[in-house]
Amino acid sequence: MKRKKRIQRVVLYVSLIILTFIFLFPLVWMLVSSLKDEFQIFRDMKSLKAFLPPAPNEVEGGYLHNYIAAFQRVDLLKYIMNSLIYTTGIIFFGLIVNSMAGYALARFRFPLAGFWLGVIIATLIIPPESIFLPLYVLVYDLGWVNTYTGLIVPFIANAFAIFLFRQFFLDFPKELEEAAKIDGCSQIGIFFRIIVPLSKPVFATVAIVLFINHWNDFLWPLVVASDESMRTIQIGLQYFMNEPPIKWGQVMAALTIATVPMLLIFAFLQRYYVQGLTHTGSKN
């Protein structure tokens, strides 16, 4: 019996290690290759060295030579800035607009409130891919192609965020607001001075969900930000893959750069993200 248990234990750990290899090797290879020159990448691929960083004296130009070359080759900094403006714009306006809407649907009694809630939830099942073409025509007619406005404004209102905010505000104790009302505080004052400061967790969750979704966006920036100076990082990455000369080391460096912000978010704020999504998951 004891022996059987021990064998089970060994099998468990061996399979865990194999699985870890399967899930990690592409990432490790990407990071390690971004430090090597072309010759080293292809030479090392035939052995375990593929997953080990090169010796420091082995790389000409230092560990970061691919990163420096990547930044010199295209304006990666500009792409990263564009991505940051795009995502923070959506997050900033999105938090205001969606939290207000969620609050209205959780707190106020007004005609058609139930109807609007139904409409907002119904829009959740419209696949965004199916409206991109007419949305592009609209944004084109508004003269917003190749502008931050065109990138940001269509995605400020977000039914999923409104839904998360509403669920949170439904559980929010009413007494605080009533006390503030007696003290003569206006509704807008109550919301921005009392509710918002006390709702940091839900704001954090929505901000992270929006960041992850839009940092990774591909289709909309591709069609709206066609001009080189408006490209986001996800679009800019393709340059390294498609424009000769194709340098594997530079590709891996550019991919790593695009992943760093996500890595930071997940390393420090993962809790909020998983919380937000499991929250809705268990509710459905």
Partner: protein
């Protein structure tokens, strides 16, 4: 259900926080009657003030394009001639059935979904069960399985295109180690879609694993203890305690993956441009090409309408199944 944990905590800390909303409304009907009309009007005004920005934006940038797509689908709208739109009835829709590319894209998408959905669900559940134990380095394993989620689909697609390179790619080198001859992967019509499937499961499973883990932790321990007392084997415990406890979460994940799978676009667009021989062209990709490359907005809109119908049908069928399961 609603946030019971958070409000329960508040009740114990500060007992003057009574349960909000419904009861207090019911307690004071006379007061409500007394409310002057102007007060109700005031509340409606404030409500709309808070709701209006979101409603207007959703209306303009979601509902209007939705309607426009429907309208365009009955016209011959061509982007380069925006002033020359004429109504052509169902012509676009009847053309869909003659369009061999559409048919191919449709079946490619179905193939992708039918394989990715169950495989990814099973992998995610398997991973969650494996590490939902007392393990050394548990956090390390969990982080490892989750790590592909941190990369964007674009990054993953580019990375794997290089890994799948038939001559110099990493995968063929690794396969060589275990004695498998080099494979063509993305360059072969037979293997391209399967290669994309493997990569997609690899990228996505860790995320659903996290949701499953949260679900596993919500299964009350006393159920397992009771099963132990009844002398249940671990297989029986899995079948009669774990699986029923995960049913709702599994259904939620099932819906999310199915819809995401049907929207397949980024992977073929970056990795194969739909080739070779159209073997990885997906539905959304075909719509994109028709609309943005060939500028045939009318026909692309008709396909978008059909695509929306398909996604809606999947959603509705799954919702109905869930409701029956529960009833």
């Amino acid at each position: 259900m609603k946030g019971n944990s958070s409000s329960a905590k508040q009740l114990t800390d500060q007992d003057h926080y009574e349960a909000p909303s419904e009861p207090s409304i019911k307690k004071v009907p006379p007061k409500r009657k007394k409310r002057r009309k102007s007060q109700a009007f005031q509340e409606a005004l404030t409500g709309y003030f808070f709701l209006a920005p979101a409603l207007i934006l959703l209306g303009v940038f979601l509902l209007y394009p939705m309607g426009a797509a429907f309208y365009y689908s009955f016209t011959d709208f061509y982007i380069l001639k925006p002033d020359d739109i004429s109504f052509i009835g169902f012509e676009n829709f009847s053309y869909i059935w003659q369009d061999a590319q559409f048919r191919q894209a449709f079946w490619n998408t179905v193939y992708f979904s039918v394989i990715v959905v169950p495989v990814q669900l099973a992998v995610a559940l398997g991973l969650a069960l494996l590490i939902n134990k007392k393990l050394k380095f548990r956090v390390f394993f969990r982080t490892a399985f989750f790590s592909p989620v941190v990369m964007s689909l674009v990054v993953v697609s580019i990375l794997w295109t290089f890994m799948y390179n038939p001559n110099e790619g990493l995968i063929n080198q690794l396969l060589g180690v275990i004695g498998i001859s080099p494979q063509p992967f993305l360059t072969s019509p037979d293997q391209a879609m399967n290669s994309i499937i493997v990569m997609s499961v690899w990228q996505g499973a860790g995320f659903q694993m996290m949701i499953f883990l949260a679900g596993l932790q919500n299964i009350p321990n006393h159920l397992y203890e009771a099963a132990d007392i009844d002398g249940a084997t671990s297989w029986q415990k899995f079948l009669h305690v774990t699986l029923p406890g995960l049913k709702n979460i599994a259904l939620f994940i099932f819906i999310t993956i199915s819809i995401a799978a049907f929207k397949l676009l980024v992977q073929p667009m970056i990795m194969t441009q739909g080739g070779p021989l159209g073997s990885t062209k997906s539905l959304v990709y075909h719509i994109y090409e028709t609309g943005f490359n060939y500028r045939d907005v009318g026909y692309a809109s008709a396909m978008a309408v059909v695509f929306t119908m398909i996604v809606l049908t999947i959603t509705i069928i799954q919702r109905v199944l869930i409701r029956e399961e529960r009833g």
